[in-house]
């Protein structure tokens, strides 16, 4: 992830200013994060309409909370933390279709269990894809964190901000995430090794 502390602090200053500067900052942030936030809400069981409402709520909270951003961490992770809190608040008031990491166990179905090398083996790719889908259904929040790691290049610090936990707790969380994921991906390794 390209770190832009300068740009981030400018955005926060604009958000705090009110009027047209705030409008410009909201527009920038909306264009940058709206689609990703909605995908996040949809992956956690929200309908399109609910996702749109959650998106609105998230941005209202961002504007309301602009003062509370201390500027020591990543603005992006802070924004995601607000999106996550908004989702959790919604879950508390409405029974969710999918809860954060609280689903019934589900195995990766239809995983292919033969073939050889992993290099360019489409069976391995397919296996990993199916396994990750199953993992995401079982551990929605773990999967979300991995998405942010891969798509946005998050590290422990961003993860800690997102989950409102300590740096150490973020490391432990990722360690648990990796262990659970390994169970799901293990069959793919067997395919890759030709077992």
């Amino acid at each position: 992830m390209a770190r832009q502390p300068h740009h981030d602090s400018n955005l926060i200053a604009l958000l705090r200013a009110g009027g047209k500067p705030r409008q410009a900052a909201v527009t920038q942030l909306f264009e940058r994060y709206a689609l990703e936030f909605k995908r996040y809400f949809r992956r956690h069981g929200a309908t399109d309409e609910q996702a749109a409402d959650l998106l609105q709520d998230t941005f209202v909270k961002i504007v309301q909370s602009a003062d509370s951003f201390e500027g020591t961490g990543s603005l992006e992770a802070w924004l995601w933390a607000i999106a996550r809190n908004t989702l959790m608040s919604e879950f508390r008031t409405r029974k969710p279709d999918v809860a954060l990491d609280a689903l019934e166990p589900e195995q990766a179905d239809g995983i292919v269990t033969s073939f050889g090398d992993a290099g360019t083996n489409p069976a391995v790719a397919d296996c990993v894809k199916r396994s990750f889908d199953a993992f995401a259904r079982r551990y929605a929040e773990f999967a979300e964190v991995l998405i942010r790691v891969v798509v946005d290049g998050w590290e422990y610090a961003e993860l800690a901000t997102f989950r409102a936990c300590s740096y150490g707790a973020a490391r432990e969380y990722l360690s648990q995430c990796r262990k659970h994921l390994a169970d799901f991906v293990a069959p793919c390794l067997e395919i890759a090794e030709g077992r």
């Binding site: 009110g18 909201v26 749109a52 602009a66 290099g119 391995v124 990993v128 790691v149 390794l189």
Partner: protein, 191 residues
């Protein structure tokens, strides 16, 4: 934990690309699967419309124009002075009668403004519908939003239609800015 650090580093930075063992190639596949999962999440998204809806809500909740507390603290001394000066100026102009209207029945005209008009009525929905209906008769489409019991309307009226639209809206006590940008909010009147 060191293993986890390395794993995270590989996952986020694609450090293992190229001449890697099978486990590393599996991590490549995992990265691909994760990206695919994100991009394949189906979502209906009309950015422009939803952004307009967001601004409508922010305005309704007085969150767009008011500076935050931090900004207010910085600018308050200047603002206070400006407020006093402006108040004095307005009082002087008001007393001079410079802008008193000669025709009290004329529909209100707002110039160069995109300010939100807020009108309290018993039935915001019906009032908004009346505006929409009148604009539709002129062939003008109006965007409509709801926030709680409030109903908002926005549209930009072509210059050629502004006078006709102004006449149609005047009986409803709705002012049309000179630039044709109508931003109107009906709120439920307190009983």
């Amino acid at each position: 934990m060191a293993d986890d650090d390395e794993w995270l580093e590989r996952l986020r930075a694609a450090r293992n690309a190229g001449q890697s063992p099978r486990e590393h190639r599996l991590l490549d596949e995992l990265r691909t699967a994760i990206r695919h999962k994100n991009e394949a999440t189906e979502v209906r998204h009309d950015g422009a419309r939803e952004l307009a809806r967001l601004f409508f809500r922010l305005r309704s909740e007085r969150l767009l124009d008011v500076p935050s507390r931090a900004a207010w603290k910085r600018t308050m001394p200047l603002s206070a002075v400006a407020l006093v000066v402006a108040g004095f100026a307005v009082t002087m102009i008001w007393r001079s009668g410079l802008f008193s209207s000669e025709n009290g029945n004329e529909a209100p005209v707002m110039r160069g403004s995109d300010a939100l008009q807020i009108i309290s009525v018993a039935d915001p929905d019906a009032a908004a519908q009346e505006v929409v209906a009148r604009m539709q008769m002129l062939g003008i489409a109006v965007e409509r939003y709801s926030v709680g019991t409030s109903v908002g309307l926005t549209t930009t009226i072509p210059a050629a239609d502004i006078e006709r639209a102004r006449s149609a809206l005047a009986p409803l006590n709705v002012a049309l800015p000179a630039n044709g940008k109508l931003r109107l909010e009906y709120r439920k009147a307190a009983r």
